[in-house]
């Protein structure tokens, strides 16, 4: 346990105690890997232990079945997504089927008074369980393995129970002896009857089809600065783990925890469901992460905004080692590499004004030069914000834009911004000017600073001369 965990745990527990919040829920959630094996073994045991018709199943009475039912009880690798209320299953796994029935022959139709009708006697039967996955026959066991190709996006599992019964048929026959009518049962041969009962379930497969994009908003070019970047990951299905490696930094994130819930009440079987608990599993990358979930399609868009120091940026841009690994709900991994291959160019704005001190109404002339390293960037829009107004200009072949506007007292802040375009990253510069209410003030203010420097110099020299004993 790390120190931060300990400290926060103390804080949380103390806060909970302070609010008398003692009925904490049972912590039966799991964080990392869903406990498929445990749940599967439990479900098999539970399924064997109970011998009842599942509550949600209506038994069938249809020749040759009586009181018959079949139910796909559990799947080894399936998760119920609580956000979309959809269950997803892995392409390979095992299925547990349970069924029960009484084989029967047609009922007796004997009418002794009229000496008509037939009777059947069950002499044998033959059952066959057939498991199909997406229409393909998989086997005939109650616990059967299945697999479907990667190209298929849904899994339809069907369990069929075929039953053939062998019945001896008897008929009532009339005959006369001495004008007396008799009615007698006669064996009428063997008859065969068959029928099928079935159950099917449909799951979505957990196909993430991930797409990732990494881009920088700013690249640190000296130790004063920090780089800012965004990594976006789009996945068509929820993932259990997202691992992003940006240079030597990494982040492991999960949007879910896993809960175990009961279903099929009289059997009390268990299934794994997702529990919305976004959390960082491990990270040494300074970042902010959030995801947006589309509950109708199940798509999940994750955004990681990260910040890097100058040193880290240098390492990443030299190694170009950026990749993500997405692990689906069934621990299948997909890796996307080479995310740092972009040709980002950090721009720089240098500005020059025609002065620093302006009277109200004076003309401010600002020359902004947009460059990347030492190369000028032409044909880009540069914006200037001053006194609530926006001015814009397009850089020429020297990367320069010249803008003129009027000084307004008391506004003294000018923001020059290049918002970024294509692979050129944004840059900005804030300038401070002095504006005065009157022209006289402006003139005095222009004179005063050098005068002040002069006075301080005279005073300093005088003081030093006195200190040195040159003058008294």
């Amino acid at each position: 346990m790390r120190l931060k965990h300990l400290i926060l745990l103390v804080l949380i527990s103390q806060t909970a105690n302070a609010f008398n919040y003692t009925n904490l829920p049972e912590l039966n959630l799991t964080i990392e890997t869903p406990p498929y094996e445990i749940v599967w073994d439990y479900n098999i045991d539970q399924s064997n232990a109970v011998d009842e018709v599942p509550l949600e199943v209506k038994p069938i009475d249809d020749m040759p079945f009586k009181n018959a039912w079949i139910k796909i009880m559990a799947l080894e690798k399936t998760i119920h997504d609580t956000e979309t209320n959809i269950s997803v299953a892995s392409r390979e796994g095992r299925i547990l089927v349970k069924y029960d029935y009484i084989s029967t022959c047609p009922p007796s139709t004997y009418d002794w008074d009229r000496c008509r009708g037939r009777r059947y006697k069950l002499v044998g039967w033959n059952e066959e369980l057939r498991i199909y996955a997406n229409g393909e026959y998989e086997g005939n066991s109650k616990i059967e393995s299945y697999s479907i190709p990667c190209t298929e996006n849904t899994l339809e599992l069907r369990a069929e129970l075929y039953l053939e019964v062998e019945c001896k048929r008897y008929s009532l026959e009339e005959y006369e002896i001495n004008e007396t009518e008799y009615c007698e049962e006669e064996y009428d041969g063997l008859r065969y009857y068959d029928g099928i009962i079935e159950d099917s379930v449909t799951y979505l497969t957990s196909d993430m089809y991930p797409e990732a994009n990494l881009t920088f908003k700013a690249i640190a070019e000296n130790p004063f600065e920090a780089s800012k970047g965004i990594l976006t990951v789009e996945a068509k299905a929820p993932y259990s783990k997202l691992e992003a490696r940006i240079g030597g930094k990494s982040l492991t994130y999960s949007g879910n925890a896993y809960d175990i819930e009961a279903y099929l009440p009289n059997y009390n079987l268990l299934r794994i469901s997702t529990y919305d608990l976004p959390h960082i599993i491990e990270s040494n990358l300074f970042s902010r992460i959030y995801d947006i979930r589309d509950n109708t399609t199940g798509e999940i868009n994750t955004t990681i905004e990260f910040i890097l120091t100058y040193e880290e940026t240098k390492n990443i841009l030299s190694s170009k080692n950026c990749e993500i690994t997405l692990t689906d709900l069934f621990q299948n991994e997909v890796t996307i590499e080479n995310l740092c291959e972009g040709d980002w160019k950090q721009t720089k704005i240098e500005t020059v004004t025609n002065g620093k001190i302006y009277a109200n109404g004076d003309e401010i002339q600002i020359r902004a030069v947009l460059t990347h390293e030492v190369n000028p960037i032409a044909d880009k829009q540069v914006l200037i914000y001053y006194a609530g107004d926006e001015f814009s200009g397009i850089t020429d072949e020297r990367g320069m834009v010249l803008l003129t506007f009027t000084a307004e007292y008391p506004y003294n802040r000018i923001d020059v911004i290049f918002p970024g375009e294509d692979h050129y990253l944004s840059s900005s510069r804030t300038l401070l000017i002095a504006t005065t209410g009157s022209r006289l003030n402006a003139i005095i203010l222009r004179i005063l600073p050098p005068l002040l420097i002069l006075l301080v110099s005279i005073f300093g020299i005088q003081y030093m001369l006195r200190f040195a004993g040159v003058v008294k």
């Binding site: 300990l6 926060l8 745990l9 103390v10 964080i31 890097l308």
Partner: protein, 295 residues
């Protein structure tokens, strides 16, 4: 006490182990939120600091209050001048020495009266002067690198946030004092030209002017710090160094008011010297009052 704390921590360790990975995840969630909240707070506060370095409050809201103060002080001056005038007119009631003193009082009062009535514009001009000096020195400090460096250590980030918060509080205090100062400035001038309250008036004026120039000194301080860091930055790219430097820079900003008041005192000495030189050439009533005040 130590035993109790140890037991408490041990029991927490046991509970933590029982909670397992869910507990760890929950703690991580809380930790991440706290971490992000601190970083957001810090980023926002750094922006506020930069804004406050180039912004001064408009004085117009304080004009009415200043006007009231000016009216009161002008009325007092009128009483003083009328009283002195009456005494001078009825010269038989005062001696030659007292007559000379009264003349100086009247002269000083007239100069003071002019300054009091001009104090609003004068105060505004001092602020403009401060902005002009700041504009000459201002170079937008890129601080994001320090933030990223500090963010590597939660404890340091919390400490840094604390220091930045104090700097902001100080700058807010300065802004309030700048706004309030325009009302107290005429009072300071008035008190300065009254011999018995001269020292108090001088202190008031020094504090108010120093308060205005804190902004300029902060700009200078940041500029020097960033230039120094730029000079060293090539050899010190380590995160810890950057974080510590950022912290030191903020601490330095905290000490600026002390420098400001010190520099205001030196500035006062320069003005004093200048006035002495000027008044030696052109004798003014104010000089006599100053000497008298000294005695």
């Amino acid at each position: 006490m130590a035993v109790v704390l140890t037991l408490a921590f041990l029991s927490c360790l046991v509970s933590a182990d029982l909670i397992g990975d869910l507990g760890t995840a929950l703690v991580d969630i809380v930790y991440t939120e706290i971490y992000n909240a601190f970083y957001d707070l810090l980023s926002g506060m750094m922006d506020i600091i930069l804004d406050m370095l180039i912004w001064n409050p408009p004085l117009s809201p304080a004009y009415d209050a200043w006007n009231s103060v000016r009216t009161v002080i002008t009325s007092i001056y009128l009483v003083v001048i009328t009283f002195a005038g009456l005494k001078l007119m009825t010269g038989t009631l005062v001696g030659a020495n007292e007559r000379s003193t009264l003349k100086k009082w009247v002269g000083g009062s007239i100069l003071s009266l002019i300054l009091v009535n001009m104090s609003f514009a004068l105060y505004e001009f001092i602020i403009e002067f401060n902005v002009a000096l700041s504009a000459l020195m201002f170079h937008e400090p890129p601080l994001s690198g320090f933030l990223a460096a500090v963010a590597a250590f939660l404890i340091l980030m919390i400490l840094f946030t604390g220091v930045v918060l104090v700097v902001i509080t100080m700058l807010i205090g300065r802004l309030i004092l700048v706004l309030v100062g325009v009302v107290f400035f005429p009072i300071g001038i008035f008190l300065y030209y009254l011999p018995p309250t001269k020292r108090f008036g001088k202190l008031m004026c020094t504090l108010m002017i120093a308060n205005i120039f804190i902004q300029f000194l902060e700009v200078v301080c940041l500029r020097i710090a960033m230039d120094a860091f730029g000079a060293m930055g090539g050899s010190f790219e380590g995160t810890i160094f950057n974080a510590v430097f950022g912290m030191a820079m903020m601490m330095l900003m905290l000490t600026v008011p002390i420098f400001a008041y010190g520099l205001a005192t030196i500035g006062g000495m320069i003005l004093h010297k200048t006035t002495e030189i000027v008044t030696n050439v052109i004798p003014m009533p104010v000089e006599s009052f100053r000497i008298r005040g000294k005695q």
